[in-house]
Symmetry: C2
Subunit: 405 residues, 2 copies
């Protein structure tokens, strides 16, 4: 089992890795994405799994004929810009390794079992996270997905077509969903919630509600060396005030708020920008706290914009309500993954969105987390110890064996 | 005279203009730059001027054999990203039109006269403004210039070579400089200093001292949805504090300070940046005020970096001391440009750097400004009325006639 995990991991590791940063740039429908999808298809085929591509481009590798009450596990292979090796791939590699482990144990599942790879989970290229699972469940319309554009202006539909898939087929697939009896996603932990528990593996309690907003501050381009301060409409100023307001609001409400992406136009050293576009990512333990944070940020941004003669328009790009995973499934998995009923693994909340959280609206869903010693994620230094990864595979295999009978 | 100005202007206008923004993207040694250089060479040749390229790529169109005590006028043709049509080109087009005007008047200059085009005045592509005049005067070493890189990592030397020039020849040219008796640059005003004077043309009093600093805030990339606030080293926060501190410091000292360019890495919506790189442009009426502003910004940036567990490194990319143009030449031109000794044109300070200010260290230098009704510059809306442009050509022709005898 450890062997097959290590071999799979080693084969996937170089694909889409940036030579100098060491981070991953696996962007949906791009060349690195094509490589990792091909890697998955080949790895699944080697195991005799029947690989199918659903109408939204998600991959499904079936052990046994697809049928009702299937047990499904998987994650995603795309990355944020210069992301780490584990976020997404750990769940896919562990799923394949768990299949190997079950076979090595002589398990023959009574229910069909599938390993999935979901498309554009990070939203790094087209701005909407969990796009593959949202399309599958109908949480986003195919029309809206088709029209999403990347930084170069390429539409999602065009990028998908360029990768050889037909965007005309996109849309919800209630039949496929109806056949899933349980979905389990294994993922690296993205904080340090497991570090002090002594457990290498935990299960998800709830996913914090979160949202993403685009803020467009529009001012007037002018010469930085000649325009008096009083004559300026400099959008960088209210943008800066908003960055600080977001941090303060998050601290006040025990939440998280981050502005990690900013684009100034024309972005010249001696030009006052005509526009600064920024994205706010906000998450909180409950909906009320999230609303309080975003209302506070919005008010501060509007006040600063007005003070500086700048126009502010905001656009909510995504909204994810709180997700509580099915308690019965969670408790069952917590018991199994711990090695027995006597020692259930810890239950952890998380601020990160996942395909599992999208599917949870329609399918009994659970998540397993593998310990992250530094808590670093979405960065080249993201790491889990190999021994913990092997424990994750074992926990997933135990879980699948229990669920698939 | 008006006719030749209008025809020259119309021929130059479409080159390097962006289809949707209407702004100019004439970046040194790029395709649009090659086009405008070819346009200048052809326009000068049509006038029987002898066009030479100096060792740094600056263009010199000679009327008469190059020799001692030459009268030189010109400006630049490169632009900031999405810059206006006038900043630079107005001085070049007016210089050619002034040559036509002198000939139409039957003037035969006693001294050699040249029209120049300086390279990379804006510093938009390689970061150092007035690069052509700095190389010519030895204000920057050829080695440093050769190693400057653009956003894509292309060196200045490689870009210059790709445009067909030999970067090995770069360096100061004391012989060429020694032959210049006077240099006059006509430029659009970049504030509204002339609007309330009733004069379409003014002369430069002094150029404010100014400097450009790069600020690198280095933190740690992390997942925006899972990293507790206390565990973050988010470089966006001290960057934002610095933007606000720069504005406050400038206001306090009657100066200008602008952060118009920012690059976040990896610039992902759900990633805390590993690094935010920003550029500070600061200018003040005198050196003491400039030092006070930059010291204040530096202190605020360092304090905010420390507060957020972020490393700050700063690098001064350019420093231009105050430039006072030669008083005798200035007063002579102010009298001539006004149409006679009885009505001298206004004398204006400016916060913008110019090749004339670089040359002023070694050559008697003056500048003429043409009225800018809105004060907008470095933006597509930059504008001067055609009638004022014609008055600028007349003032420049009068000036050249007076200086060249």
């Amino acid at each position: 089992m450890s062997d097959t995990f290590d071999a799979l991991w080693a084969a996937l590791a170089p694909l889409g890795r940036h030579r100098t940063t060491g981070g991953y740039r696996r962007f949906t429908w791009g060349p690195a994405d094509t490589e990792v999808r091909a890697w998955f298809t080949a790895a699944a085929a080697e195991r005799g799994l029947d690989v199918r591509t659903d109408r939204n481009g998600n991959l499904w590798a079936w052990w046994g004929e697809p049928g009702p009450d299937a047990v499904v596990t998987g994650s995603h292979l795309d990355s944020v810009p210069d992301g780490g090796a584990f976020d997404g791939p750990l769940g896919v590699v562990s799923a394949l390794a768990a299949v190997d482990a079950l076979r090595a144990r002589g398990v023959r599942p009574a229910r069909p079992l599938a390993v999935t790879v979901f498309v554009e989970e990070e939203g790094a290229r087209f701005g909407v996270p969990c796009l593959g699972s949202r399309l599958l469940t109908g949480a986003i319309t195919p029309g809206r997905a088709a029209g999403l554009t990347d930084a170069a202006g390429t539409t999602y539909a065009a990028a998908m077509a360029a990768a050889g898939l037909d965007p005309e087929h996109m849309g919800p697939d209630p039949d496929l969903l109806a056949g899933i009896g349980a979905f389990v996603e294994l993922h690296i932990e993205q904080g340090r919630g497991l570090v002090h528990t002594g457990h290498p593996v935990g299960v998800a309690g709830a996913v914090w509600p979160h949202g993403r907003w685009r803020l467009d501050f529009s001012g007037r381009a002018d010469h930085a060396g000649t325009t008096p301060l009083a004559d300026r409409s400099d959008p960088m100023l209210p943008f800066a005030a908003t960055v600080l307001a977001a941090r303060a609001a998050a601290a006040e409400h025990g939440a998280l708020a981050t502005i990690g992406k900013v684009l100034a136009v024309p972005n010249g050293t001696n030009a006052i920008p005509s526009r600064v576009r920024a994205w706010l990512d906000a998450r909180a333990p409950d909906e009320a706290a999230l609303r309080a944070v975003t209302a506070q940020v919005d008010a501060a941004a509007r006040a600063a914009a007005t003070d500086n003669g700048v126009l502010l328009t905001t656009y909510q790009e995504s909204a994810s309500p709180i997700v509580r995973f099915q308690t019965a499934l969670r408790d069952r998995i917590a018991a199994v993954a711990g090695g027995g009923p006597g020692e259930p693994v810890p239950v952890l909340p998380t601020g990160a969105g996942h395909d599992a959280a999208v599917l949870a609206a329609q399918v009994p869903t659970a998540m397993l987390f593998v310990r992250n010693p530094t808590g670093v994620s979405h960065a080249p230094d993201e790491h889990a110890d190999t021994a913990d990864c092997h424990r994750g595979v074992a926990a997933l295999a135990d879980t699948l064996a229990a669920l698939a009978g």
